[in-house]
Structure formats: C-alpha cells, structure tokens
Symmetry: C2
Subunit: 157 residues, 2 copies
DNA sequence: GTCGCTGCAAAGTCTTTGCAGAGAG
DNA sequence: CTCTCTGCAAAGACTTTGCAGCGAC
C-alpha cells in the first residue's frame, strides 16, 4: 500500500475525510462499500478508543439494518492502519484500541486504575520530537506518547 | 499486588536488581525459583525488546539445561509487568515486546519499515511530561513514547 | 460483466488455565 | 511439611483466511 496523503495536516471535517478515504481506495483499486463507509463514520463519530469488538457493537447500534461481520471490521482496520488513517494503542493485557488518526493530534494519559484515557497536547513536546527524529536521521511519520498513572478521579477515592 | 519499590531510581546493577526482585517476591509470599531468576537474568542481559516467544528461545540458548515452559514465561512476565519491573511495547500487528524497566529510562523510535527499535532520551520532554501530568491532576507513575518513521538505514536504500 | 468485497465458519495464533507432580521456604 | 510453581496439554480469546455469493464500478 503506497500513497502519500498527508495526515499531519489535520483533517477534522467528515466530508473531507471521506474524500481522502475514497481517493485512497481508488488509488489502490479498492472499492468503496457501505461497510467501509460505516466504519469510517462510526470511528469519526466516536470519542472513545475502540477495540474491533466495541466498534462492531457501536456499529450495530448506529446502523441496525446494516449487516456487518467482525471480519470486515478487522480487515478494514488493517487497511486503515496501513494507510495511516487510524492509529492503534494497546494498554496492559487488553487488546488493541483504535482511533481515527485524522483527528486533531494528541497524546494519551492512561489511568492504570480505571483504564480511562485522557487526551492532551503539548507543543513543546511536539517540537522536541521533530528535533530528535532529525538528529537521529529518522524520517518521522508519526508518534505516540502515553503517560500512565492514577487519574484525578481515582486519586480522590 | 501492592509494593512500593521505586523504579524511577535507575537500577543498573544486576545484583541490586535481583535483590529487589527477591524482596518483591517475599512481600507477596511468592517463591524465588530458578525459572524466575533465569527470566530476570535473560531480560537483563538482552538489549533487545523481547517477545515471550523470543525470550523463550533466548533462554533455551542461555540455559540449555534448564527446562522452561512458555507458560511460565507468560506468567512471569505478567508478574513483572504488574510490579513495574518490566514494561511492554506493542507495535503494529506484532505481539507485545517486553523490556526490563529497571534499565536507564528511555523512549523508542521505531522503524515502520524494518521494525528496528532505537532508544533515546530527551530531558526536555521528560520534564514537560511531569508538568503536564501535574496540571491534569494525574499521579504519573510511568510513561512511554514512541516515534514512528523510517530509520536512517532504510532511508538510504 | 468483472473483480474485489462481504459474511460465515473454520483455521490459526497467541495467551491463559487446570492439574498433578516438583520444589522452595 | 505446606503451599506455591512448573510443565504440559487443553481451553480460551483474539485474528485471519478460504470460499461462494453479492455488489461496486
């Protein structure tokens, strides 16, 4: 899969995102199907970090008439991840969780007690990351950062 | 599992590490077995990020006379991770990779082409992470950061 | 029409678990 | 001695794959 859509330019509009998706498919001779669109739309509409399982459940709620198999979700997530349209996180022994990469970039703060995920961005860190990648002769395409600890809520219990 | 060994104080000496491990076991009424020691030692002696599988292989080379089942490795890695003595990384669809947390802290730069992992540290980023965690009322216990891209080697091909 | 896509179910992987004997404390 | 560990094999969870019919283009 080789295509050069630049997802560092933050795409937040769904129509635009959908177009990028269609272009991606066209370039690779893939077809735009109702299932693929539903997956993209569900990911777009969710603030959560979704497992294939939970994405599947969400889709059944959102599109009760659409038949969708878990296998299709797996296949589409692989496709989307390869194309850098979604990124995945994995935490502890839980499985992988996916989120749309086209959202505003952010990092993650993960509570090791309740598992909640808080998002944040820090410009300083973003800058340093680019500098470091450069220093090491690395062509940075993406990054992720997680801070683990006990969240405010759990602390107060 | 609750114990308060502070692995932010970087332990680099194996003997000391071993002692911490023994204390951890004692505190939790667990036994110090030859298998557990071998796992710790193999992790300590490796610069790689190991999957349970590759750790198993390595151990068989290093301790040809020691019988060790893969199940024991899984069980021990879970124990070590829960106790914050090792941390795990997972990248793409590959499984989890573990490394000793007691090593000097560092972050990871992962080549999406060849899968190689380069380690680095940046003081500036470390500082910012603490500041951010504080701002969000988070009790930070650990963090991890990964930069993805194409490494120097792969770029030159 | 063609060729890729989908759901299903079956096959793989990777991890965890139950158990009976072995071994640490 | 007691009670935890271990290896083994079986079970489980999570993913991927083969296939025949369906649907996008």
């Amino acid at each position: 899969m080789s295509q050069e859509i630049n997802f560092n330019e933050k795409i937040v509009d769904y129509t635009e995102l959908l177009n990028e998706f269609k272009n991606l498919l066209k370039k690779n001779n893939l077809k735009f199907t109702i299932q693929r669109e539903a997956i993209l739309e569900t990911l777009y509409g969710s603030d959560e970090h979704l497992t294939p399982e939970s994405l599947h459940r969400l889709m059944q709620e959102k599109f009760p008439n659409l038949k969708i198999g878990i296998a299709t979700i797996y296949r589409t997530l692989v496709l989307l991840e390869e194309s850098n349209m979604v990124t995945s996180l994995s935490f502890g022994s839980a499985g992988k969780k996916y989120e749309l990469g086209a959202k505003e970039h952010h990092d993650h703060m993960i509570c090791t007690n309740c598992g909640s995920i808080t998002e944040f961005v820090d410009e300083e860190i973003e800058k340093r990351q680019h500098i470091i990648a450069n220093e090491l002769g690395f062509n940075m395409s993406d990054h992720s950062m997680q801070i683990y600890g006990i969240c405010k809520n759990c602390k107060n219990k």
